[in-house]
């Protein structure tokens, strides 16, 4: 199978992510959600009491909170979902230790190959558990921790407990509460003071079974002056019934540290992707979210940066692509809590074949955050008259001495642009793809080459057959 991975998908090829493997679960909790299921998950993981109590408390919050009345339409039966599935007895340190069918899946997704070429470490999560993990030896020697969050609770309990759920408490929103109750897997990263990790750390999240919910929980701590680039990819096969992916990601970027978090989300179009991602950045620190949303039925995701101390910076670059039956309600949130903080939001969305993209963003400047700067640019490209784009910018400015910029544009692929390109011999699909790739180019060029290539290829797959 490994040879399949290198082959470049051609137009007309079926989506290479749409396959599933017959993997036998080691343990699968029954369908549905209640306190027993939550206890069972906690027992399976032999967790300390504080975590079990945290989960049960979170379940109560989840049950008490109403569904959000904004964003996209969520048509989910929470009792018709499997909340926990353990695919393997233990986590592999080499791919040979990973059960064959699961290894095949990741081979097809190209993960081991990418690992060899340009990654500093990899975590692969299949259903509820991380089934493979690696980290380059020199990073281990420098004190870098890159493990799954379950293992982190066992091995680094004090470190985890100090930060866990401090950035996103369960009561933050209904889906953060759900994640807090049933979470499993996800990455835990600690980068010690001054350590700069040159190559990206990557996590890959794969849902394989039908009606499976995935609820990973990621916690990243970048200590003073340290640097890390973390990348996550997500895919699932297409089933006729809906599934749920609801993650919580918390990031702490300390003094003068930098963190870049890149997501390439390509979930199947039956997945609700309802994710809470938030970072706090301290003095002179930089947090960057690069967020590519191509798949899912509905995505609601607004990566946030809270700038806590002077000189902190936040950048959020996002691309959303929605096609038939898809709604991408994505955006960004920046909160300026200290003077001289700056933020930049660039959002690009593309809608085609009746797809809907919404930009939803918040810029908040607290009183006293003098000389803060924020700039927001959101551009939407609509490919046909059946598709839709909306912009919901929110501004809450409680300080006079600030510079805030907001620009928004909506454009349609013009007949004249298409004619110009086709008059030079480009077919219409080729011309549309070129216009779309050009539209997102300012963001693509921010990505490391390998991911830029991947993004362009995914856009091409999305564009396939879009015209005529």
């Amino acid at each position: 199978m490994a040879t399949d991975v290198a082959a470049k998908p051609k137009f007309g090829e079926i989506n290479k992510y749409d396959f599933h493997t017959d993997s036998k679960a080691v343990f699968k909790a029954r369908k549905g959600l209640d306190a027993d299921i939550v206890r069972q998950i906690s027992d399976m993981k032999s967790e300390p009491a504080w975590m079990r109590d945290f989960r049960l408390r979170s379940l109560e919050i989840f049950n008490a909170k109403p569904m959000p009345r904004w964003g996209g339409a969520i048509d989910l039966d929470f009792q018709d979902i499997f909340y926990y599935l353990k695919p393997a007895d233990r986590q592999g340190k080499t791919w040979d230790e990973v059960p064959d069918e699961i290894k095949k899946t990741f081979d097809r997704l190209g993960i081991p190959e990418a690992e060899k070429k340009f990654l500093a470490g990899v975590k692969a999560q299949f259903e509820s558990e991380v089934i493979y993990g690696s980290l380059k030896e020199d990073l281990t020697r420098q004190g870098v921790i890159f493990t799954d969050t379950d293992t982190a609770i066992r091995e680094y309990p004090d470190l985890v407990r100090e930060y866990f759920a401090t950035i996103i408490p369960p009561a933050d929103n209904k889906f953060a509460a759900l994640n807090s109750a049933v979470w499993s897997g996800g990455s835990f990263i600690y980068v010690p003071k001054g350590v700069k990790i040159e190559f990206p750390l990557q996590a890959y999240f794969r849902i394989n079974a039908e009606n499976m919910g995935q609820f990973e929980r990621t916690l990243i701590i970048v200590d003073e002056g340290a640097e890390v680039h973390y990348v996550e990819g997500c895919t699932a096969p297409m089933y006729s019934t809906e599934s749920l992916h609801s993650a919580v990601v918390e990031i702490i970027v300390k003094k003068h540290a930098r963190c870049r978090y890149t997501t390439i989300q390509n979930w199947a179009n039956n997945i609700y992707n309802l994710v809470t991602k938030r970072a706090v950045a301290y003095e002179g620190a930089l947090m960057e979210w690069i967020d590519g949303n191509l798949g899912s039925r509905l995505t609601m995701k607004y990566p946030a940066v809270y700038m806590m101390e002077p000189g902190a910076r936040g950048e959020i670059l996002s691309i959303a692509f929605s096609s038939a039956g898809q709604h991408q309600d994505a955006g960004a949130k920046v909160v300026h809590c200290a003077p001289n903080t700056s933020s930049r939001i660039i959002s690009k969305s593309i809608s085609k074949n009746g797809g809907r993209s919404s930009y939803r963003g918040l810029v908040k400047v607290e009183s006293g955050a003098r000389k803060s700067k924020s700039s927001v640019v959101c551009d939407a490209l609509i490919l046909d008259s059946a598709s839709r784009s909306d912009t919901y910018p929110y501004l809450e400015i409680d300080e006079q001495d600030v510079t805030i910029g907001h620009e928004a544009s909506v454009s349609r692929i013009g007949e004249e642009q298409l004619f110009y390109l086709t008059s030079r011999g480009l077919s219409e699909p080729e011309a549309s793809t070129m216009i779309v790739n050009g539209f997102i180019e300012p963001l693509i060029k921010e990505l490391p080459m390998e991911y830029a290539v991947e993004m362009n290829r995914l856009i091409e797959l999305q564009m396939e057959g879009s015209v005529g």
Binding site: F11, Y420, S423, G425, M434
Partner: protein, 274 residues
């Protein structure tokens, strides 16, 4: 073997039903240079668009054939692959798309007309070499290839980009729609020289222009005068010179019906459009 682009009794309307061309007849052989002159709004650009297949224009009568093949049945990209090229008077900006990427796709498709989306392109190294060579010949900066297609280009840069495309695509038939407009005298001279260098016995050229400067190095074998949507007179290079010096008064007087049609077309038109 020399091929012919044949336009017979061509009637063209805009999609909102306004008739602009009212029976154009024109035959261009490979290797020939034709000049098409006429006052603003007489239908010059429309003819270029109709030959290339612009979706905003509808052919209501007549035919266009390239060596017997029905051009009107082809999509714009098929016309390009069959060897027809239109240098736009106002080229479109395509933000984020580099000139080099665009040209590599275009050149591959035109040279391999059967190519489907996703199939191999001309090898990068080979293409770069050719592109650099052509840009050097046209005295264009290498940086040009990395800029986004027509995005933020000056008027002169746009026209030169069109000539670069002409050089790379080497069509059998090129229609140059006012490739001189917006250029200063030196730039027109350079453009004129470049076109002459690119052309030759394998390229039939239709030059749409108001002026004779562009014709300096491209002495037309034929000059056609279009008025009121019809070619009313055809002559040699001396006709182009006469029109440039003396304007269209003699033509209007000689063809009152066409002049009246021309005036009627302009009445319904907002100022500045054509």
């Amino acid at each position: 073997m020399s091929e012919t682009l044949k336009i017979k009794d061509l009637h063209v309307s805009t999609t909102d039903g306004k008739e602009i061309l009212r029976g154009v007849n024109l035959e261009i052989k490979q290797g020939e240079v034709h000049a098409l002159m006429g006052p603003n709004g007489s239908g010059k650009s429309t003819l270029g668009y109709a030959i290339m297949g612009h979706p905003g224009y509808e052919v209501t009568q007549g035919s266009i054939t390239l060596d017997g093949k029905d051009v009107l049945a082809m999509e714009p990209n098929e016309r390009a692959r069959a060897g027809i090229f239109l240098a736009f008077q106002r080229p479109m900006a395509i933000p984020g798309v580099k000139m080099a990427d665009f040209l590599r796709h275009a050149a591959t498709n035109v040279r391999r007309p059967d190519r489907k989306e996703g199939e191999e392109l001309i090898p990068m190294r080979e293409f770069r070499k050719e592109l650099n060579q052509k840009m050097e010949q046209l005295r264009m900066d290498k940086e040009f290839a990395r800029r986004y297609v027509n995005d933020g280009f000056s008027g002169g840069e746009m026209k030169r980009a069109e000539i670069l495309q002409l050089a790379m695509l080497r069509p059998k038939f090129a229609i140059l729609d006012e490739t001189d407009s917006g250029l200063d005298v030196d730039a027109v001279r350079l453009a004129s020289q470049s076109i002459a260098d690119i052309g030759g016995k394998d390229m039939g050229i239709l030059i749409i222009t108001h002026h004779e400067h562009l014709l300096e190095h491209n002495r037309p074998d034929f000059t056609h005068v279009i008025l009121g949507g019809r070619i009313v007179e055809t002559g040699g290079p001396e006709l182009a010179l006469e029109l440039h010096k003396q304007g269209y008064d003699r033509i209007r007087a000689a063809y009152p019906e066409a002049a009246a049609a021309d005036a009627a077309l302009k009445e319904n038109e907002p100022a500045g459009a054509h």
